[in-house]
Symmetry: C2
Subunit: 302 residues, 2 copies
DNA sequence: TTAAATGATAAGAATAATTCAGTGGTCTAA
DNA sequence: TTAGACCACTGAATTATTCTTATCATTTAA
């Protein structure tokens, strides 16, 4: 029969993650020979060694890699489905959360998040950069648990909620002339600017709003990362317009000053996205709460 | 332990589909008591009857429904992953293919498709209408195997290929005056038209092309379905512009004539979409071939 | 070189699943 | 209304599978 013992998939997944039969056995609360036997059953089924011993670790064969690639998202989906009826205990259960973060969100979220999670050593976080176009499919296929991004149009298989509002502020080098009492609109428009954008052309969000107000600023540099832009501002008279949360972080490490924008501009709405089907899964609910804590700067335990 | 025997999920899925333990047992090549025992193990685990006997069939409880909803897509993903290394035998293996078809594609595809599949009684097809925005997430989550639509921008988790090109033609009532020798551009523009569109406003694709050519036609009726539009054309002097494949089908049943468009217009590119990760899965490859057969009007066995 | 650790293997033990046989309930048709 | 067919559940016995203990051959690290 074509029928594979589905429990072996769980063993396969663990060996794949741990890279060792002994460690996999520990994780599964089994003895090492039990795992070894399971592996040999898998080997029979696939007619492939699946994992080969290379020195101290079991390295997956190409076939095993290909299998893992397609099988593991399904497995996590099933585990989510099964676990939705059981409570989640973050202190004892092992769980990997995968998170799609763009640009500066990694720096503003991860440090505080991981600090809050130190008391949960079994919790693992994977952060990856996800293209906007991929976001929904990654969430739907189970490759991603959450994504954080500005407000985007999504299908109704994807849920989202506001995580935090971020005002735009201006970063200027410490010795930028004439900014002791903040920045006037004249100064802002007279200065030259760094535009941070992942695209190679077109205006940034702040330029959209400025042109709506009928003014225009001069761009001296277009680059991809806010961090690089800030290091430029540190050493020149160029200004950088960026979200406040990240600016406050940079302020503590670089010789720059954070100044309010001299004009009103709508705040950046940072949203959290997830797959609607797994909305009720306790572990995901718990992680969502953790993310909200970080976003609103609440301490670990309320 | 929180650990559920994953093999029970397969039993659950089969009971859910078959609505009967006896039939589920047959499908699983087991005896009925074996399935009954499996079910009782599931009941212990979920602390819920899961299926209750109502007359002649086992009806899932709300909890079972909710569980099935989230679990089954994962299960099919896993089965795809496992099966990618085994050949698929459409004559003997049971398999359900789910297909996202919009509007007229159901009428133009399904009859011929199901005719071609009569020699494969184990093959089941589910066709559902999918909103464009949902398409990719449905494919990614495993709820949909294939979708058919015009060319759309997609993420690279989704693959696609041209299924067929469809020319636009005009449908006119049988007794429409002065169309014995086809339709001139003057006649086309002088007539009043039915515009078929699922949106409530905005031009149709043909209007886009017409305005590119600097002309404009008069819309007398805007409606949602080509079939309704044809019945209108049958009884009035209104014209309907639509894809040729569907027009040819209608022509055989309604008192209408199919006329070529009096101007050149780009053909409609009908594409087939699927999830890239399961590209190599034999059963999906086989079904893709079936769809191509239908699209190109080739017979069942070449 | 040696001690510790790792994966494979063999054989017995433990566990789990399947089958068989029988019960009671439900539907259908005479 | 009732007999017969069908269906799901239960318990005991059997069968099959999986796990464990013990051991060996390699490999790694001290």
């Amino acid at each position: 029969m074509n029928r594979l013992d589905l429990n072996l998939l769980h063993v396969f997944d663990t060996i794949f993650r741990e890279g060792s039969l002994t460690r996999a056995a520990r994780a599964l609360h089994l003895t090492q020979p039990a795992v070894s036997h399971s592996l040999s059953r898998l080997r029979d089924h696939f007619n492939d060694p699946l994992f080969t011993r290379q020195g101290n670790q079991m390295v997956p064969t190409p076939l095993a890699r290909r299998f893992a690639e397609t099988m593991r998202p399904g497995l996590t989906q099933i585990q989510s489905a099964v676990n939705q009826f059981h409570a989640f205990d973050p202190a004892r259960q092992h769980k990997t959360f995968s998170l799609g973060l763009r640009d500066i969100l990694e720096s503003t979220f991860l440090p505080q998040l991981m600090k809050n999670l130190t008391s949960y050593p079994e919790i693992e976080v994977v952060s990856q950069r996800i293209a906007r176009r991929e976001m929904e499919t990654q969430l739907a296929s189970g490759k991603l648990d959450f994504a954080v991004d500005v407000l985007l149009p999504v299908s109704n298989q994807t849920s989202h909620e506001l995580l935090r509002k971020d005002q735009l502020v201006v970063i200027a080098g410490e010795h930028h002339p004439g900014i002791e009492n903040g920045l006037t609109m004249e100064q802002y428009l007279a200065a030259r600017h760094v535009l941070v954008s992942s695209r190679t052309e077109g205006p940034g969000i702040e330029d959209f709003e400025l042109s709506r107000q009928g003014v225009h600023r001069r761009i001296a540099l277009r680059c991809q990362h806010y961090y690089a832009a800030c290091r430029v501002a540190e050493n020149t008279d160029l200004l950088v317009t960026m979200p406040e949360t990240y600016a406050r972080m940079i302020e503590q490490q670089a010789k720059v000053r954070v100044l309010p924008l001299p004009t009103d501009m709508p705040a950046l709405n940072v949203h959290l996205y997830w797959h609607t089907a797994y909305e009720k899964e306790p572990s995901l609910l718990w992680f969502r709460e953790q993310l909200h804590r970080v976003a609103s700067n609440r301490p670990d335990r309320p």
